[in-house]
Amino acid sequence: MLEISGLKAGYGPVTILHDIAMSIEAGEIVAVLGSNGVGKTTLNNVISGIIKPRAGTLRFDGQDITGKRPRDIVAMGLAQVPEGRKIFPNLTVRENLELGAFRRAGRNRARNFERMCTIFPRLRERLKQRAGTLSGGEQQMLAIGRGLMSEPKLVILDEPSLGLSPLLVEEMFSLIQTINRDGLAVLLVEQNVVQSLAISKRTYVLEQGRFAIVGQSADVLNDPKLRQTYLGL
């Protein structure tokens, strides 16, 4: 579904990502793990078209999307739920969800809206509230709901568990499995190593802008280097 090869990207004189290659198949949960500042968000922004790559190609759903604009990529069915949520705090919960269908699936807006209210019952209670007044967990739900309103084929979740209480983190990971069960491919970009490995099929571990460990999540969990660096074992 998504294939990246030879990707290089950065800002100004700084190169952040060096020679990245990865792929995501339809219906898969793929995790990209790494600590702060290794280039996770840069990778997402290149995929979403916010940053133009310096080299390499990106293909989505059989088409070359290298250098395409964000709105064309959204229109093709690749949505991103960004780090820090980036919901619209001045708009109501309802308006936030509706804007999720701005570029794609506008005709099914009412149906998807209803679906989001079913997946996230907390949001239904707060439809008229300004999104900025929601709690952190609710804002994350809203950000994911908004991303799903465009009926994507692949959704990138950038650190969805960041800043949530341990209980909510559990809820978030089971929710990711729920949305994946309907066949939606998920690129899960996380620092939360154990839980991400548990729910993903394959994992890429990003270090200094390069993939240091790549493999089936079950194998990556037993990788001695990972266990030492990320789990302290």
Binding site: R71, V74, A75, K86, F88, N90, G100
Partner: protein, 289 residues
């Protein structure tokens, strides 16, 4: 005394509605693009000349010309933002200020070249018609301006609250990256906003023309008041700009009444200084979490 105060207040409200309309355009552009549009007054002046020329050459009444001038200036505003302000500022705020300032200098001097600095007015048959409003007689064009300005403000509110474009504008105003990731075209939205803001001054120009004069410098008289209105209403707040505009119109009329006609505007700038001292975020700062 009351016999003078009430008419002054009513007359002030009619002037204030036009101030509000000019300020609505300015505050919309500020609230969304986060730029101070120094060309706002010059665009008002340009719209006055366009309406004037349409009147002199084609005999179009300023009110009939309003939809045409508004449409032309909406397009002009869209194109200016998209291909001039955005292109030459390279996304840096200081550059945007300079580009809009440059635009205003070019427009002002263009008008000076084309029309000279002579003061001009239009001749409309109803210029001196009076309408009885309670205890006062208000010139018909001022009543029209008042009603039309409120209707336009209402339309603007409807667009912002209840359309896809309005939601996109409000989204882009506060969360550009989030909007981009929803597939909203930020540059297009900015330009639409600049277009709507410019359309507001164009409407104000057509409403002003029957009772006002035109010179290449006329924009400054309004833009200074508009800046005051925007600050008083809370930068970026549409409702605030409307109320503040009406309020300043009344303040000006009352100061004119008590201190003499030529000192009317002193009240506006006194109100500005008081606002900066005591409510720097404006009387009606927008509620943003």
């Amino acid at each position: 005394m009351l016999g003078l105060v009430v008419p002054a207040i009513l007359s002030g409200l009619t002037t204030g509605a036009v101030y509000a309309l000019v300020a609505l355009g300015l505050t919309l552009i500020y609230g969304v693009l986060h730029i101070i549009n120094f060309a706002h007054g010059s665009l008002l002046m340009a719209a006055l000349y366009v309406a004037l020329v349409l009147n002199m050459r084609l005999g179009l009444d300023p009110y009939v010309a309003l939809p045409i001038v508004v449409a032309v200036f909406f397009c002009a505003g869209y194109l200016l933002q998209r291909f001039v302000v955005d292109t030459f500022s390279h996304g840096r705020d200081a550059n945007i200020l300079l580009v809009t300032l440059a635009l205003s200098i070019i427009i002002d001097n263009g008008a000076l070249y084309l029309f000279t600095s002579n003061t001009r007015t239009v001749d409309v048959p109803y210029a001196f018609d009076m309408i009885e409003v309670g205890p006062a007689f208000i010139p018909l064009p001022k009543v029209v301006a008042f009603v039309a300005a409120l209707v336009i403000a209402g339309l603007l509110w409807l667009v912002m609250r209840h359309t896809r474009l309005g939601a996109a504008i409000r989204a882009v105003a506060i969360e550009k990256r989030g909007a981009e990731l929803m597939g909203i075209d930020v540059k297009h939205t900015y330009a639409m906003c600049f277009g709507i803001g410019t359309a507001c001054v164009a409407a104000a120009a057509c409403l002003l023309l029957p009772t006002f004069y035109v010179t290449p410098q006329v924009g400054y008289a309004f833009v200074l008041v508009a800046f005051t209105t925007v600050v008083l209403g809370g930068m970026g707040s549409l409702g605030g700009a409307l109320v503040a505009g009406l309020l300043l119109g009344v303040v000006e009329a009352l100061c004119g009444l008590f201190l003499g006609e030529t000192l009317g505007q002193i009240g506006i700038f006194a109100a500005f200084i008081l606002t900066l001292l005591f409510r720097p975020a404006g009387l009606f700062a927008p509620k943003v979490a």
